[in-house]
Structures are given as structure tokens and as C-alpha cells.
């Protein structure tokens, strides 16, 4: 395997990492603030994908532009889910929470199956297939936009968390819940917003992926474990950790694909995940 292939793999991995980072910072909010393992997270990504798919198919809206619709839409969906389903069980044993989100995943997947059928769909934008060539490395434009878009949105979120009052309140709640309550922060509102933002992030990631990924009701499965790996490896509650985690997963996935035959390469991110869980469960960057 030559250097060029290695370089290509690294670049691919980084590109993918950008999207994973976006998924990660969103899940970091949910997992970090509310301590909920949301098994429906992959399905929410799927919803993001389908949203932009239909906007493109019916209204010819370019997927990247559709972000302006899908992001608020998924935010709203997240808030509704949080209010109706998550909030009632926030104090319940974690197993019940896990199973509830599992039920949500089943519901969303099969709703999509019912409404739109099992067939794989794709979105074909006019500029599909455009490839940039930088120093002999081929970069698919769509993947690059996804990468850039992912990081950009993550940056927006970062600014929001750092600079706005709401953002600070969210960070306070995730670090010290009792203290936050004590200073009068409405934890319920924080939860609503956090879950909404987390959902919006993963929905946006879905939209960014739509132009070059095959779409089906079960596409969420692919990202479910990955999303959690990103967050845990980076360190629960750490924004930067989620970003780094995204890139680590992207890189290990991509390198695994070139180093090992077939799809065996996928074992590498999983093994790394288990190793980190065993030896540094608080994550690499906390």
C-alpha cells in the first residue's frame, strides 16, 4: 500500500470525521446534560436525511439549503420527544430509559418504513461527482461540504454554549445539576433545549450526508454505535472531546478500510472503543 493511498485514506477519514464531530457534539449535549442513552439517535439522523430528501424531491430545494428548514424542524421534533417521552421518565431507572428510547427507535424506523417503503433512495444534485484534486489527493466535493458544514455548525454550537446565557446555563446543568437548580436555572427548560439541539445536530448531519449516502429507514443503525463511540471516546461532557472523538473514529474507520480486507477494518474503531472504555472510561480529552 503506497503513500498516496495512505494519504487518501487519512483525508477521507478526516472528511468523515467532520460529520461525526457534529453528531458527537449533539449527542454530547443529550448524554452529557441529561445522562440519557438515546437509542433513537440514529433514527433521528434518518429523519434528517428523509426531510432533506423530500424537500429536494418535491420542492427542488438543494440539500445544503434545506438545512435552514431541517435544522429547526429536527429541533422541534427533539423538543417534542423530550417533552412527551423523555421528561416523564427522567428519574426512572436507566434500564427503563434505555428501553423507552429503544421503543422510539423502533417506532421511527417502522414509521419511515410504512410511509416511504424499504427501498434505497438517493438524491442526485447537479454537481454530484465533482471531485477536487489537491496534491494528488482526490476529494469528493460533497463529502468536503459535509465536512465543512459539520465543523461550521459545530462552531456555531460552540459559540452558543460559550457566549450566550442559555449556553452557559446548559453547561452549568451538565456539570453540576444540583448547583444549577440552586441558582434558579430551570432544568426542565435546559433539558428541552439540550435535547432539541442534540436532535437538530444529528438531523443536520443527516442532511449533510444526504447528497452522497444511500437512504433507507434503517440507515440510522449504521450511525448509532458510532455516535456513542465518538462521545465516549472523546469524553462525556467535553465539547472538544466530541470533536476529537469524531475525527478519531473517522480516521480509524478509514485507515481500517485500507489496512484490512473487506469490511474487516470496521473492527478497528470498535476495538479502540473497547480499549478506551476499559482503560480510560472518562474519555481521552476530559
Amino acid at each position: 500500500m503506497d503513500l498516496r493511498m495512505l494519504l487518501q485514506a487519512i483525508v477521507s477519514g478526516l472528511l468523515a470525521g467532520g460529520v461525526y464531530a457534529l453528531i458527537g457534539v449533539g449527542l454530547n449535549l443529550i448524554f452529557g446534560v441529561m445522562k440519557i442513552i438515546n437509542f433513537a439517535h440514529g433514527s433521528l439522523l434518518m429523519l434528517g436525511m428523509y426531510s432533506s430528501y423530500w424537500l429536494f424531491t418535491f420542492f427542488k430545494i438543494d440539500p445544503y439549503l434545506s438545512l435552514m428548514i431541517t435544522v429547526p424542524l429536527l429541533f422541534l421534533i427533539g423538543v417534542i420527544i423530550q417533552k412527551l417521552l423523555i421528561n416523564p421518565i427522567i428519574e426512572y431507572p436507566e434500564n427503563n430509559q434505555l428501553v423507552l428510547t429503544m421503543g422510539l427507535m423502533l417506532f421511527l424506523e417502522n414509521l419511515a418504513l410504512f410511509l416511504w417503503g424499504p427501498d434505497f433512495r438517493t438524491v442526485k444534485v447537479s454537481y454530484v461527482g465533482t471531485v477536487l484534486s489537491i496534491f494528488t489527493v482526490r476529494i469528493n466535493l460533497l463529502r468536503f461540504i459535509a465536512f465543512a458544514g459539520g465543523l461550521l455548525l459545530a462552531l456555531f454550537l460552540y459559540i452558543f454554549l460559550k457566549k450566550t446565557d442559555m449556553g452557559k446555563a446548559i453547561r452549568a446543568s451538565s456539570e453540576e445539576r444540583e448547583g444549577a437548580l440552586a441558582v434558579g436555572i430551570s432544568v426542565k427548560r435546559i433539558h428541552l433545549i439540550s435535547f432539541g439541539i442534540g436532535t437538530a445536530c444529528v438531523g443536520a448531519a443527516g442532511t449533510l450526508l444526504t447528497p452522497f449516502l444511500y437512504l433507507s429507514p434503517h440507515v440510522g443503525h449504521l450511525f448509532l454505535l458510532t455516535a456513542f463511540m465518538v462521545v465516549v471516546m472523546g469524553g462525556l461532557g467535553s465539547f472538544v472531546g466530541a470533536i476529537m472523538g469524531g475525527f478519531i473514529i473517522g480516521l480509524t474507520e478509514s485507515l481500517g478500510a485500507v489496512l484490512l480486507p473487506g469490511s474487516l477494518g470496521q473492527i478497528i474503531p470498535f476495538s479502540l472503543f473497547v480499549i478506551i472504555l476499559l482503560f480510560k472510561p472518562t474519555g481521552l480529552f476530559k
Binding site: L85, I89, L106, Q266, I267, L278
Partner: protein, 343 residues
């Protein structure tokens, strides 16, 4: 010797009802249509898997989201032994169970030694099952994406664990279920079982009372893995085909968890009740809405969500509540993430 003082009759009640139902069903089983028998087999099969999962996740409280790893190991191992070397699937079943038990010991030792709990434990088991899926997908021995096809024999053959009619399958899975229920019941009233439950309720306190946490968690996982693998072999011999998605995919895991939680996790009959309820609803939905893909699952997903919110202890929790005045509290015993000790 039962350690429960209240109403020992109540406990036996469940067994009586179950055995009566089993006998009654067996009586008429010859008259049941093949389709109906299939539904009954599914109920018993899922109840079996759920009960196996229940041992480590319900009794010992270690929520596993990767149990399909053991299922797949059992299914593939017995099938390979049969297809490649002609070994009877019965022997393959036990062998697969032992192999899965070994895998359980390995996973258990790793994860429990490093004190993985709650969500972290669940995710690590998920990662393990995914790794096995990828291996099966890429290994020529397991047939890669093609999976393994169990060759059909003419007629029935006990030795080959293959039968022309569904009836023998019914009796086999019924026996397997009775066995695992017996084990569950035994655990419920034994030192081992009490240690499992103590670990579930409060690990730290359990440790201070002399419970070797690592040892007993691992034992729970090993027992659970063994039985889960048996279910894998049964599946392979009943459906005649397995592939990486079937054997190591999330479907099996979800089915195990959903039915048990619905019926009542941590109880002997919870998984069976959950399985019966879910399957019945599934069938009713199917008959009303036809084979419309996924709708019946949507309905039972909604049911699951509602149950988790309003009856967190499942059907058994409801039944027990009516039975005695003291109900079990829904207290959050473990902080999901706070369980990860970091000093």
C-alpha cells in the same frame, strides 16, 4: 427452601398456571394449524431468549445490549459443526453453549474487572457483538455475507434436529423454556440469586457484605450466555438459515430486551408474559392491517413506550401490585453515568 414468608401459595400460582397452560396447549397442539403453532413457538422461543437475558440483566442488573453475540456464536457454531463435519446439532448446541459461556467469561472478566457499568457496559457489549458481526461477514469459514444454509433432509430426523412438522419444535422449545424458567426460579431463591440481586441493588453495599462483585457478575453473564446460545442453535435448526445480520444483528437483542422489559424484568415469568402479550398484539395487528410492513411493530413500539412510562415494572409489576400492599419503588438506583468511578 423458599425464603419468602408471605403467601408462598402466590408464587406457586404462577407455576401452576404456566404448567396448566403448557399441558392444555400441548393437548390441543395436534389440532392447531401450522401457522398458529408457529406463533406459539415464536412466543416460547422469544420467552426463552428473554429469560436468558433476564439472568444477567434482570437479576444481576447488568444491562447487556450485545447478547446477540452469544446467540450468534451458538447458531454459527452448531451449524458449522453440522454442515462441515456432520456433528449432530444437539451436540453442537451444547458445544455452542459452552463456547458462548467462555466468551461470556472473557467479556465479563474484561468489562467487570475494569468496573464498566450501566450505559458503558451496555455499549461495550454492543461493540463486542458488532465486532463479531463484522468477523462473520468477512470470514470465509462463516460463509461471509452468504451465511450458512442448513441442508434440508427428507422427513424428520431427531439426530439432525430437523422435523417435517412444527410439533416436535414446539415440544423442544417448550422444554428449553421450562428448563430456563426452572433455573431462573432456582436463582430467585438461592444464595447465588440473592447475590445477583444485591449487586443489582447496590454494588458497594453488596461488596461490604462479602459479595465478590467481579466473580458473581461474571457468573451471571456466563449462565446467561450459555442459554442464549442454545436459543441460537434452535433458531438455526428451525429456520434453516443464518447470516451475519440475523445472527449478530440488533434484531435479536431488541426482541430479547423488549419482551422482558414489557413483561417485567427481574422476574421469573416476566419474559414469558411479555413475549405472549407482544406476539399476540403483533398477530392481531397483522390480521387487521395485513402484511403491511412495519405497522405492527409501530404499534408495539408505542405499547412499549407507554409501558415504560406508566408501568415501569412491566406486567409483572402490575400483577404484584395488586397482589400485595407493598409495591416496589421506582427509585433511580444508579446514576447512569455517575456509576463510572473516577477518583
Amino acid at each position: 427452601m423458599s425464603a419468602q414468608n408471605y403467601n408462598p401459595l402466590k408464587k406457586w400460582n404462577y407455576w401452576l398456571v404456566f404448567l396448566a397452560a403448557a399441558c392444555g396447549l400441548s393437548w390441543v397442539s395436534g389440532l392447531l394449524s401450522s401457522y398458529l403453532l408457529h406463533v406459539v413457538i415464536l412466543i416460547l422461543y422469544f420467552a426463552f431468549l428473554g429469560s436468558a437475558w433476564n439472568i444477567v440483566s434482570g437479576y444481576a442488573g447488568q444491562f447487556s445490549f450485545g447478547h446477540t453475540a452469544f446467540f450468534g456464536v451458538g447458531a454459527y457454531f452448531s451449524s458449522l459443526l453440522y454442515v462441515e463435519s456432520g456433528v449432530s446439532p444437539w451436540i453442537g448446541m451444547i458445544a455452542g453453549g459452552l463456547l458462548a459461556a467462555g466468551l461470556g467469561a472473557f467479556i465479563g472478566y474484561l468489562t467487570f474487572r475494569f468496573k464498566l457499568k450501566g450505559a458503558f457496559f451496555a455499549l461495550s457489549t454492543f461493540a463486542f457483538s458488532e465486532m463479531l458481526r463484522i468477523i462473520a461477514l468477512n470470514w470465509s469459514v462463516t460463509g461471509k455475507a452468504m451465511g450458512i444454509l442448513i441442508p434440508l433432509k427428507q422427513g424428520s430426523s431427531l439426530q439432525d434436529f430437523q422435523f417435517a412438522s412444527k410439533l416436535p419444535y414446539y415440544y423442544i422449545i417448550l422444554s428449553m423454556l421450562i428448563l430456563v424458567l426452572f433455573v431462573s426460579y432456582g436463582l430467585d431463591h438461592s444464595r447465588l440469586g440473592y447475590y445477583f440481586k444485591a449487586i443489582r441493588e447496590d454494588e458497594e453495599a453488596a461488596g461490604s457484605l462479602g459479595v465478590n462483585i467481579l466473580k458473581y457478575k461474571t457468573i451471571a453473564l456466563v449462565i446467561s450466555a450459555f442459554f442464549t446460545a442454545l436459543g441460537g442453535t434452535f433458531y438455526a435448526q428451525y429456520m434453516f438459515y443464518i447470516d451475519p445480520d440475523i445472527a449478530f444483528g440488533t434484531n435479536v437483542t431488541i426482541e430479547m430486551i423488549v419482551r422482558t422489559m414489557l413483561g417485567g424484568v427481574g422476574t421469573v415469568f416476566g419474559p414469558l408474559i411479555g413475549s405472549a402479550v407482544l406476539e399476540s398484539i403483533s398477530e392481531v395487528m397483522r390480521s387487521f392491517l395485513g402484511e403491511y410492513k412495519g405497522v405492527h411493530i409501530m404499534f408495539y413500539a408505542v405499547l412499549l413506550i407507554l409501558v415504560m412510562i406508566f408501568f415501569p415494572h412491566g406486567v409483572m409489576g402490575l400483577v404484584k401490585k395488586k397482589g400485595k400492599e407493598d409495591s416496589r419503588d421506582i427509585t433511580k438506583q444508579h446514576e447512569l453515568v455517575g456509576n463510572q468511578e473516577s477518583e
